[in-house]
């Protein structure tokens, strides 16, 4: 072997050795939990109004963070110490609460916060958006569990029929990233849940490089967040939801996991919970006698509403059914997403209900 060959061999061997040593050191240290709490938000940059999530990362100055501790650390909730005059309301929920299609200050919680409603005891309602896109009650329960450390006076949990679909529980990136906790919650609810088991490779730098990259991107995006307040790509066309519907009426109601709600509410413990059935788009197009919208057949949704109302009464939950509270003209893109104006009208309704319940 010539000098050149030896040089190449040495370079490759050294690179391999360094790569292995770095992975071993990383495996031992496991820096992700530490990094979750290390954030530029609420310090160098203002805290985020809502959890970081992105459909189009290149355009939105946002990435989807799956690790909840990192999400909470960069949320404005973590940067605001609770004062005696604050009535803290934390919103769980899906993309309709998170505010798909709308700016961070156009969401339902942001609107309720702006209203600065006073409680009978003089405290002011401060609302925080802890929702995350895609309906998923297991993911909501995970967020609820982490949110309890932030001293909520009230948890608001908007759900829809799809939130309770067991089959979709394991599809959330947040559920996958908190798999041990998720399994624990599912077991408590008596719901079978199958998640991929973690192995030793998942703890190496190589396996976690994408998570680390996302964390870094999230920190870097703080500057754009401070400068513009943009955290989602604005869509040019606010298209209405599907008007004419298919005649399909099937819906697997055996997939609906009400026990997840019972577990979630129980987990809230001393923090009062207001459960809300979210507004849905009510189409008047073709086959609207069979379906309410592209998501829900009438029969299945009516059954769900009746069962949820009955469960709420039986469990003595505070429950608000807002299924038809938003006029069809206010919906955009899907059967669950509505305009900032509609969000504000719902916020007023919820605000009044919160005040009334306290009297």
């Amino acid at each position: 072997m010539g000098a050149d060959g030896r040089l190449l061999r040495n370079v490759l061997l050294k690179a391999l050795l360094l790569f292995m040593l770095f992975n071993i050191a990383y495996y031992v240290v496991q820096p992700l939990p530490l990094l979750d709490h290390l954030t530029l938000y609420n310090g160098v940059f203002p805290g985020r109004e809502r959890f970081a999530w992105s459909e189009y990362p290149d355009q939105s100055f946002s990435v989807s963070l799956a690790r909840l501790d990192a999400q909470f650390a960069s949320h404005r909730l973590a940067g605001i110490p609770k004062t005696t005059d604050e009535y803290r309301v934390l919103f769980l929920g899906d993309s309709s609460i998170w505010g798909l299609e709308v700016a961070a200050d156009g969401t339902l919680p942001a609107c309720l916060d702006r209203l600065k409603l006073s409680m009978p005891d003089g405290r002011t309602i401060r609302a925080y958006n802890l929702a995350y896109p895609a309906p998923n009650a297991l993911r909501d329960t995970l967020i609820l569990r982490h949110a309890l450390t932030y001293q909520p006076d009230l948890m608001v949990w908007p759900i829809t029929l799809r939130s309770l679909s067991q089959r979709e529980f394991a599809l959330s990136d947040i559920v996958l990233a908190q798999s041990d906790e998720a399994m624990q919650i599912a077991r408590a609810a008596g719901i079978p849940l199958s998640l991929p088991a973690a192995n030793w490779i998942d703890r190496t730098f190589w396996a976690q490089r994408s998570t680390l990259g996302t964390w870094l991107q999230h920190q870097l995006q703080g500057f754009a967040w401070r400068a513009t307040g943009i955290d989602t790509a604005p869509h040019e066309f606010a298209a209405p939801p599907q008007f004419d519907l298919s005649p399909e009426t099937g819906y697997d109601m055996t997939d609906v996991a009400y026990p997840m709600l019972v577990t979630g509410v129980a987990m809230a413990g001393n923090a009062p919970m207001l459960l809300i059935n979210e507004p849905i788009y009510l189409s008047s197009g073709k086959n609207s006698d069979l379906r309410y919208n592209a998501d829900y057949p009438r029969a299945a949704y009516d059954q769900y509403r009746a069962e949820l109302a009955s469960l709420a009464t039986q469990q003595h939950w505070r429950y608000l059914d807002l299924w038809d509270a938003v006029p069809p003209s206010q919906f955009i893109r899907t059967a669950l997403h509505y305009t900032p104006e509609a969000a504000c009208s719902i916020a007023r309704l919820i605000g009044e209900r919160i005040r009334a319940a306290a009297q």
Binding site: G2, D4, G5, L7, L8, V11, Q59, F61, L216, Q217, L220, Q221, F223, A224, R226, A227, T228, I230
Partner: protein, 446 residues
């Protein structure tokens, strides 16, 4: 990233090909890259092959060689594959034409004693004008939008055409001026579409590239080590540094003239943009040069620490070097000479040549008022610098101080950097309205 690694792998594997076939193997990879990287839409990759054959036909001195015929067959084979994959009749037809051209009949049709003549020179000018017209069409957003609206074609992005056109024009101009060396079709085609330089240059010169590509080399491990090192450095500069800086860099998404960012934030965005664009571009160049080294070639450098230069002329001698020297040789120098020969006052001739060249450099990036303004900004800067060189005389007591040259250099570097950075405002934003709004905020006017 995957493309880069694939190219690097192919480059390394090309050492397994016998030396006499190695340029052909590089051509095959290059034409393959041309087809795979071309966005769906018109058959621009095929048109590129046609342009190459057309220009070569004009500038040739010798008939087709055996390796040229093989080159044509390889191009035709790749075109057939593309035609099969995309169902393109045009590409199929061109593939057939290239196959036919590779036949012995055509080589006998082309006389071997082709000499430069005035008809060919005139044709070269027509080719140059056609290439400029194509370039302007592809670089004008309004024309591109029009093509989408009229459904003539949904996509007018021609992969690497800015560089391909400038290589072709360089060859045509040198041919017209009688400076072009004899080129085989294979070598000429390889020069135009050489795969490491397709996406971001450098714009090599054919007289330097071809002898380098044809030099007989034996495999040396140091090619892999040095090339790999340069590629890794390029990947780091582009995908780690530049892509991270992109989040903080001035961009249309961050600028709303009605709701301008704060003064300090805007300066941060501007500084970050200056470094973002450098690392982005220089990273790509490192990758191209690194792949060149893997193949045993020495591609020209494009960036040599441009932000450490003490004046704007030095900056342009070290920023996108192959583009600026292209313009210097083919626009600035001929234009200056023409104006001086026409008895224009030297100062005015220098001003017009400087400004015109820089505006054209701006328009090379895209035909818009902003790119023209960016070019004009630099043209003015270069002119003022040139005038200052002859006008400014420092007091002798200052010049005699040991610290004075150092202060002058540091001050020059800072001043040049800020001048260049402010110019990036035009480059980064899409219209003059938002550019001026940003300028006003940067200068504390609004």
């Amino acid at each position: 990233m995957t493309t880069v690694l694939l190219w690097a792998l192919l480059a390394a594997l090309s050492w397994l090909v016998p030396m006499r076939f190695r340029p052909l193997s590089w051509l095959a990879i290059s034409v393959g890259a041309l087809y795979t990287l071309q966005a769906p839409g018109p058959d621009f990759a095929t048109v590129t092959l046609l342009l190459i054959v057309g220009v070569w036909w004009l500038v040739r001195r010798d008939p087709l060689t055996r390796s040229d015929q093989l080159a044509l067959l390889i191009c035709a084979g790749i075109a057939f594959c593309a035609a099969f994959l995309h169902g393109s009749a045009v590409t199929l037809a061109i593939g057939l034409a290239l196959t036919a051209a590779s036949g012995t009949t055509l080589s006998t049709l082309i006389p071997s004693e082709m000499e430069d003549n005035s008809t060919h020179r005139r044709l070269a000018v027509l080719w140059i004008m056609a290439l400029i017209a194509l370039l302007v069409t592809l670089k004008t957003p309004a024309l591109v939008s029009l093509s989408r609206v009229t459904l003539v074609t949904p996509n007018l992005s021609w992969f690497g055409f800015s560089y391909i056109a400038f290589r072709l024009m360089h060859v045509l101009i040198d041919y017209r001026n009688g400076r072009l060396p004899s080129l085989t079709l294979r070598d000429f085609a390889l020069y135009v579409v050489f795969f490491p330089t397709l996406s971001a240059g450098p714009i090599d010169r054919v007289g330097r590239f071809v002898p380098d590509a044809l030099t007989e080399r034996r495999f040396k491990a140091r090619y892999l080590v040095a090339g790999g090192e340069r590629i890794l450095w390029g990947l780091f500069r582009k995908f780690v540094i530049a892509d991270s800086l992109a989040y903080w860099a001035l961009s249309p998404a961050l600028i709303d003239p009605a709701k301008m960012p704060r003064f300090g934030d805007l300066w941060i965005m501007l500084y970050v943009y200056a470094f973002y664009i450098f690392f982005d571009f220089a990273g790509y160049t490192d990758i191209a040069i690194g792949i060149g080294i893997l193949l045993g070639l020495t591609l020209p450098e494009n960036f040599r620490r441009p932000y450490t230069r003490a004046n704007i002329a030095a900056f342009w001698n070290h920023w996108h070097i192959t583009l600026s020297t292209w313009y210097r040789d083919y626009v600035f120098t001929p234009l200056s000479r023409t104006l001086l020969r026409a008895n224009w006052p030297p100062a005015l001739a220098a001003f017009i040549a400087q400004l015109g060249t820089m505006i054209l450099i701006g328009l090379w990036h895209g035909v818009s008022w902003n790119f023209a303004a960016w070019g004009a900004w630099h043209g003015m800067g270069l002119y003022v610098h040139r005038r200052m060189l002859t006008q400014i005389r420092w007091p002798s007591r200052l010049e005699s101080q040991l610290w004075f040259p150092r202060v002058l250099t540091v001050g020059g570097v800072l001043l040049t950097f800020h001048f260049v950075a402010l110019g990036w405002v035009f480059f980064a934003l899409p219209d003059l309205h938002s550019s001026f709004a940003v300028f006003a905020r940067l200068l504390g006017i609004n």
